[in-house]
Amino acid sequence: MAEKASESSNSISLNTVDGKIFKVSPTIANQMQTIQSLIKAYDSSRVISLPHVNAFHLSKIIEYLEGKSATTVSAVKEFEAQFMKDLSLKQLKGLLIAVGYLKVNELLELMPKTVAKLIENKSVEFLRKFFGIVNDFTPSEEAKIREEIAWAFDGVDED
């Protein structure tokens, strides 16, 4: 979780979209490419606003970064598995977007891997709904693709 302000004089303050202020060490902040480039651009005393990240997702990211640095190399896999297991699919999606926005290097591989594993057997309808993707095919375009799918999976009788 967020570090206490007293712990570090040069800690960086992050303001989430839901109005919570997190103070993080430069070590943690520098692992987020987006924040790293902002620290360079501004003086670090300023509170950095994160309009796309809420407190829950930021706290999870910090928890991951702090937890991983405190874990021995051999136990990292176990730590990561446990970290991901605690998250619902919906939370994972939000976290994925936050990670993508903040560009948290450490999570840029693990997040897609975890999400891919969870959605690999989901239906097209589920994916559209889950990710909020709009079906932009015309009915005839969609029918054509469905025909191709039926051909591929339908066996050998028709010709």
Binding site: Q33, T34, S37, L38, A41, S49, P51, H52, L96, I97, V99, G100, Y101, K103, L108, E109, M111, P112, K113, V115, A116, K117, I119, E120, N121, V124, L127, R128, F131, G132, I133, V134, N135, D136, F137, E142, I145, R146, E148, I149, W151, A152, F153, D154, G155, V156, D157, D159
Partner: protein, 478 residues
């Protein structure tokens, strides 16, 4: 990953411009942000997520899902049918090896099916274009003429099998075609069209799931042999329609898929055919390439001489791309080469080892042999290949190598096509060297013992394809 981060960093500019707009007037800022993101979001794979990250997710999904996932949205369809996704899969190491099986139905029509060995799910490929090159087919002389020639030179029993009916050529596009797989695509080369041999080449791109015509070969060929060296597709031999009927070809050519061009390769010298005792025999006996496997960076071509009703094995020749020359095959390799059946794929290299199937005349005793380079000899590695169904098919077995293992494709007692994985328990050379001092001692060795000790068969997948017969197979990894 390197490219991923470099792409990501160029995008950070747009984020920074948002940051510069941070102002006390929160409402005003929000409005501006949502206005800019609206356009962006609708064109993204997954809203609110950089496409590079979405690509990382899609590239990790099983390929068997891709056909369905094209339905998600236009952008998803575009991505799944683009080569960029498959580059990411390569980087991530998520490429999958699939088996592509060519079968022939009761009406002698050819069909392709792919198998994902992991999920055991089959996909039927779009039909090969039923295109007949008018110009090429008009060149053909009378059908009866060629019939006589086919009988006369007796290319192989296989051809006769294909010509079960007199009008077979009219109704069988791609009869006698060769197939190959290179750079992630399938190729169908030549074959007969009516009474002529075709030069044309068709490519199936599994990413696009479409057939397209590519540059034709310089020669019309049917029943030629194919092999891959250094990401190039070689075609060797076969027969061609000449003025006096079908002529066996010694010529070879190579296709570079990156430039889509054909180049000439020196013709097979067939040096053994030239030392025949009399000019009469030399004229009578037609040399034929009866197989082709690329092994240790070279093309190994076993050869035979045919003259009705004779059939003489003459060893083989090896093409070395570094010297661009043919040399004679080591005698043990050439004379012992077990598979001699035109039009079938009975040898395969798996994990650097050259395997060949010895169909044998009796159904019971199909064997798989491995070539021992040190001793220049073929050794039985599997004494008995399971066959449940006495098929009169041209190719009751096929060999394939994927997932680092040797596979046999055949038909079971229910007429299902089965894909069997051979798990070799013992190191073949240790077991072979103790039990096979010569061919004679090998025959004395009880096959059941060899069978149970050496190999465990596992059914990878099976499926009923009506009365369809096996023709050939290829493996593609993307």
């Amino acid at each position: 990953m390197g490219s991923f981060f470099s792409v990501a960093s160029t995008k950070s500019k747009s984020y920074r411009s948002e940051w510069n707009e941070i102002s006390p007037n929160e409402a005003c800022k929000r409005q501006r942000v949502s206005a800019t993101t609206f356009v962006e979001e609708s064109s993204r794979l997954i809203p609110h997520l950089p496409d590079e990250l979405s690509l990382q997710i899609i590239a990790r999904l099983p390929r068997i899902r891709y056909l369905n996932l094209r339905l998600v949205s236009r952008k998803w369809k575009l991505t799944i049918t683009s080569s960029e996704l498959y580059k990411v899969r390569k980087e991530l190491g998520t490429i999958e090896e699939w088996l592509y099986l060519l079968i022939k139905d009761e009406d002698s029509k050819l069909h392709w099916h792919s198998l994902d060995p992991r999920s055991q799910v089959w996909e039927r490929l779009p039909p090969m274009p039923s295109f007949v090159d008018e110009e090429e087919s008009r060149k053909g002389s009378s059908r009866v003429w060629m019939w006589n020639m086919v009988e006369g030179i007796r290319i192989a029993e296989v051809i006769r099998g294909f010509l079960g009916r007199k009008d077979a050529f009219d109704e069988m596009p791609f009869c006698g075609c060769a197939i190959g797989a290179v750079a992630g695509c399938l190729y169908v080369l030549g074959g007969f069209s009516k009474t002529s041999t075709m030069r044309c080449v068709w490519k199936f791109d599994p990413i696009q799931s479409t057939w397209s015509k590519v540059t034709s070969m310089s020669n019309g060929r049917a029943y030629c042999k194919t092999g891959i060296l250094d990401n190039k597709l070689y075609v060797v031999g076969g027969v061609s329609q000449g003025q006096a009927g079908l002529i066996p070809l010694q010529s070879a050519e190579v296709f570079d898929p990156s430039t889509e061009t054909w180049s000439n390769v020196p013709s097979m010298p067939f040096s053994r055919a030239q030392v025949l005792p009399t000019p009469f025999l030399a004229d009578m006996l037609k040399p034929i390439a009866t197989g082709l496997t690329s092994y240790m960076g070279r093309l190994c071509v076993p050869q035979s001489l045919y003259a009705w009703p004779f059939f003489v094995d003459v060893g083989g020749e090896i093409y070395d791309p570094e010297t661009n020359t043919w040399i004679e095959m080591p005698s043990g390799m050439g004379e012992g080469w077990p598979a001699r059946q035109a039009g079938t794929k009975l040898s395969v290299v798996v994990d650097g080892e050259l395997y060949a199937l010895d169909p044998s005349s009796s159904i019971e005793s199909g064997k798989i042999k491995v070539y021992d380079q040190g001793e220049d000899a073929w050794k039985v590695v599997i004494g008995k290949v399971p066959i449940y169904y006495a098929s009169d098919s041209d190719s009751p077995y096929l060999l394939a190598g994927f997932h680092g293992k040797l596979h046999v494709i055949t038909k079971d007692i229910n007429h299902d096509i089965v894909v069997l994985r051979a798990d070799l328990r013992n190191n073949w050379d240790s077991s072979a060297s103790t039990t096979t001092l010569s061919n004679n001692s090998l025959n004395e060795f009880p096959e059941s013992t060899v069978d149970s000790d050496a190999v465990v068969w596992k059914v990878v997948a099976s499926r009923y394809f009506e009365q369809a017969e096996l023709v050939s197979c290829q493996v593609i990894d993307i």
